[in-house]
Each structure stands twice: as C-alpha cells, then as structure tokens.
Amino acid sequence: MTLTEPNIAATAKVTTLDARALKCPMPIVKTAQAIKTIASGELLEVLATDPGATADFAAWSRSTGNELVEQTIVDGVYRFVLRRK
C-alpha cells in the first residue's frame, strides 16, 4: 500500500463522494453508483472512514478497471481518487 500526499491532478473534473461513517459494503456500493454519474476520464474522490476500505477500493479498482489514481489517509479519513475508465 502506497500512501502519497494529497495531490489532485488539476487535469480533470473531480466529483466528491462522502462515504465517511459508512461501513462495508456501502462505501464501494456508493462508489459504484457514483462512478456511473461521471464521464470517462473524470475523477471521483471518495472519502471513507471504514478501515476495510483500503483493501476494498484496491480490489474494486482492479476488478472494475477504474484506475485508483491516489490514496491518502489524513486524520483517520481515507481518501481515494479514482479515474473512470
């Protein structure tokens, strides 16, 4: 697991999904729904507090082909940036 500094690429439109306080499996369920609302190439930023989210988002990204561009944790809040394929 690589944690990088927050650094949203200013190259694409970013939509934010607040999945904080949600527990498994709702963060990826909400993410799967939200990713459909953005266009291909756009970014979806997801905020989550479920510690299981780290493994789940990596698996979700590999399985769906939507790239996990960035992954950070700040004060117990996980932040995932995904690019819609």
Binding site: C24, P25, V29, A32, Q33, W60, S63, T64
Partner: protein, 209 residues
C-alpha cells in the same frame, strides 16, 4: 435512537421447545404431501461474455445472520461489476415476502409455518443467541450504533444495482407463496437446473448460505 430491527412483539411468537416439536411434525407432514413436479419457466440468462465475473448465491436460510452476509456479498459483487444472482429457496424465501404479510399460504400447515416464522426482511431471527428476540434486537442496536447498513437498506441497494433474486418455484408452491405475496422486482421463479447452469459458468463464484 431509532426503532430496533425486530419489534419486541415478535417475542410472543417464540416458545422454543414447542416450536421445534411442532416444526418437526409439520415438516414431516409437508414432506409427505404431494408436491407437483414443476418445470423451470424462464431460465435466467447466463453471462454473455465468458470473462464476465459472476456470483451465484443459494440463499437457503431465512435467518438474520445468513440473509445479512448474503446481501452484503451480493451488494459488493454487483458494485464490482459482477453479474449477481441469488437463488432464494426454502426458509430463504421468507425474507422476500412483503413485510406486512403476517400469514401466507393456503392450508393450515402453510399458515402455521408462516405464523411460526414471521415472513419479511424486517422480521428475521438469529440462528444462535436469539433469546426470544433479544439477540436480534441487540444486533440491530449495535449495527445502528456502528452505522452498519441494515438488511432492508441492503436489499434495496442490491435490487437497484441489478442483483437478480430468483425464487425457487418448487418451495414457493410448497409454502403456498404467490408472486403477490413476494416483494416486487424479483426474477422469474426457476428450478435447480437453471441455477446449476449459472453456477457452472466460467469465472463464477458460488455460495450456499
């Protein structure tokens, strides 16, 4: 503080010893009753592309601690883009009966079975530590405290994401369940062969819960 998953009134329905004796007797009676051979009507379509991943769950149990993981796994699978099918059979049909239906069936045995195991997604018991409804109530309180999604919410999300819930034609008839007793949005009732066809597709995970 919100309402618990299992209403305290369900406590009245449970007298464990009596229930087991009666259940044994009724199950024996039901198994002797002639059950008409049924045909699979419309077989659910197997995934078109062989590289599409699939999850197939046979949801056999109507208990809270079984329907919950069934719904969590099917939601996760649908979110990951898997074609997801849940075959609901035997007690597993009961969570998919409309919540407001207290008694279903045509004859006294079917009605008794429904009375002893109240149908509906919000009226599930635990397979262990049920303690006259205290167990499910405490699980309900804890899951709300820790913000875990409840079965009704998970069921709604699963249906919205296209999880197909396929009722078992044969057990629906045995329990006297009609389509109008069941919640909306279920798939066409099917049989064992249709489910086996789904389970033997490539890239398919199958679970019996």
């Amino acid at each position: 503080m919100t309402a618990p998953v299992v209403e305290p009134e369900t406590v009245v329905e449970q007298e464990t010893g009596v229930e087991h004796d009666l259940l044994g007797f009724l199950e024996a009676a039901v198994s002797e009753a002639p059950v008409e051979a049924t045909q699979t009507r419309v077989a659910p379509e197997p995934a078109a592309e062989t590289d599409t991943k699939q999850l197939v769950i046979i949801n056999w149990s109507g208990e809270l601690d079984k329907i919950w993981p069934t719904l969590i796994m099917s939601n996760a699978a649908a979110a990951m883009g898997y074609k997801t099918s849940v075959f609901i059979t035997f007690w597993g049909l009961l969570p998919f009966v409309k919540d407001q239906k207290r008694i279903v069936g045509e004859n006294w045995m079917q009605k008794m079975l429904a009375l002893m195991q109240r149908p509906g997604i919000s009226h599930r018991k635990l397979s262990k530590m049920n303690f006259l409804g205290m167990g499910p109530w405490m699980i309900g309180q804890l899951s709300k405290k820790y913000n875990v999604a409840q079965p009704p919410e998970l069921l709604e999300a699963a249906q919205a994401m296209g999880v197909e819930f396929i009722p078992c034609q044969m057990t629906m008839e045995m329990f006297g369940l009609k389509r109008e007793d069941m919640i909306d949005g279920l798939g066409e009732p099917a049989g064992a062969a249709a489910v086996l066809e789904l389970m033997t597709q490539p890239n398919t995970a199958s679970l019996f819960i």
